[in-house]
Symmetry: C2
Subunit: 263 residues, 2 copies
């Protein structure tokens, strides 16, 4: 277990256009700064990946784009500006507006999440590893809200070459007892640490984290998809209001008798 | 906005006993290591505060202790070992078992969260500021699960002298457009970064974060309580199963007519 971490945000990545070679651009920025070492972790804002992939949609088509990215609506809320949809998107991420984003994009456009952020992380890891001659972990991050807590935090939506969960079960605590409950979502914590230096408005979508070599793996690993916990284990599959309404409706249908239920 | 962050976990804090003077013990550890500077942020695991406060309860009384810490049950789940209760506790934190913890405590005991982690952070900030002659931010952290994501992350449950939310609204993005949605929960991100170096089983419950002086404030500020978002804004006040059951029950009561409803 390391006892020190350094996180820095290299400057100089240009605005990314569709089709840009991200590996080449990132390698250029990283070569110009402090040399990377084996075991460093690179954290890249997903927006940069989306831009290279040309994932732009006209702002007028935003609602349709959200629908297209949606697997399942979790909750909706009306407000002055319209309706916010909290949904599970095709990546298994539960996010407002499915992660479709309107900040830091050209006027009149919104930006979808990358097609496959785990695959993006794997490509970046392989390409940068070759270009720079180092063994890296790569995380693709995005910003998300969470229930019960105010404010947004960055999470890992793509990962390669880094343990996303650090399973401490089986280790003993300082009283010699087995730790039974502790699986740390380290990839999300790394994304959060990186966000503290990247910032939102500063044009630094990239951070290097040094000191976590014990989490960097030889193989690409399962990616950030392994952080998704939905289905049976999900106690919050629907917003409270939506679940309450569903219970009400089903009770009335059951009262009315099977022959009167809608299919 | 800083472009570099350093996080390290000083060694040498002894096992804490009820009544211990945490300021004196921490000051000793911090004096023995790299000198702190104005603008450093200290992150301390809440367990250490609880131990100094003597918040031990006999393990046999664990279920009652959870009930006593509970303001409201959010969701419950049966499993082989019993029933896990996800509750809102008296600190406004939604946590499994109300945050009552059985790891790293003496055999036969469990540990409650500190009485008032924001007040603890304020006392530590004042005491350490005086002992070390530096202006610090202080965060008291704990480990929590979250819906939809596997693994646990550390969050801030107490804070003093540090902005807990970094409101970027009003700043412009790189296209000159106002950022309207972005309020970063920086105190939670700092707690997460600190956890990456503290670890769980290593006996280092303390981390120093350097590079966030722009978030450190002259006054104590509103504390981590400002990160709690419950009530009207909470779309997940009940687990889906609990809300569904409540809807069902209320529908049947409404069908039965007002004279037959339970009060």
């Amino acid at each position: 277990m390391t006892a020190e971490l350094r996180v820095w945000a290299p400057d100089g990545l240009p605005e990314i256009a569709p089709g840009d070679d991200l590996v080449a651009l990132l390698a250029g920025v990283l070569r110009a700064g402090e040399p990377l070492e084996d075991g460093d972790v690179l954290v890249l804002t997903s927006k940069v990946v989306s831009k290279a992939e040309g994932r732009y949609v006209a702002a007028a088509d935003r609602e349709q784009a959200i629908s297209d990215e949606t697997v399942r609506v979790v909750a909706t809320r009306e407000h002055a500006g319209g309706v916010t949809r909290i949904v599970e998107n095709r990546l298994g991420l539960v996010m407002a507006a499915a992660g479709v984003d309107a900040s830091n994009t050209p006027a009149g456009t919104v930006l979808l999440l990358p097609v496959d952020p785990d695959e993006s992380a794997r490509r970046l890891r392989a390409g940068l590893g070759e270009a720079l001659g180092v063994r890296l972990g790569v995380i693709v991050s995005d910003t998300a809200g969470r229930p019960w807590r105010d404010g947004l935090t960055d999470i890992a939506i793509g990962a390669a070459g880094i343990q996303v969960l650090d399973d401490l079960r089986g280790q003993v605590d300082s009283f010699g007892r087995l730790l039974v409950m502790t699986v740390a979502a380290v990839a999300d914590e790394v994304a959060a640490a990186a966000e503290l230096v990247k910032g939102k408005a500063t044009g630094r979508p990239l951070a290097v984290v040094r000191g976590l070599a014990h989490l960097v793996t030889d193989d690409d690993g399962p990616g950030a998809r392994a952080l998704v916990r939905l289905g049976e284990a999900d106690m919050f599959a629907q917003g409270s209001a939506e679940a309450y309404a569903a219970g009400w409706k089903d009770a009335l249908a059951a009262e009315a008798g099977p022959e009167q239920q809608q299919p």
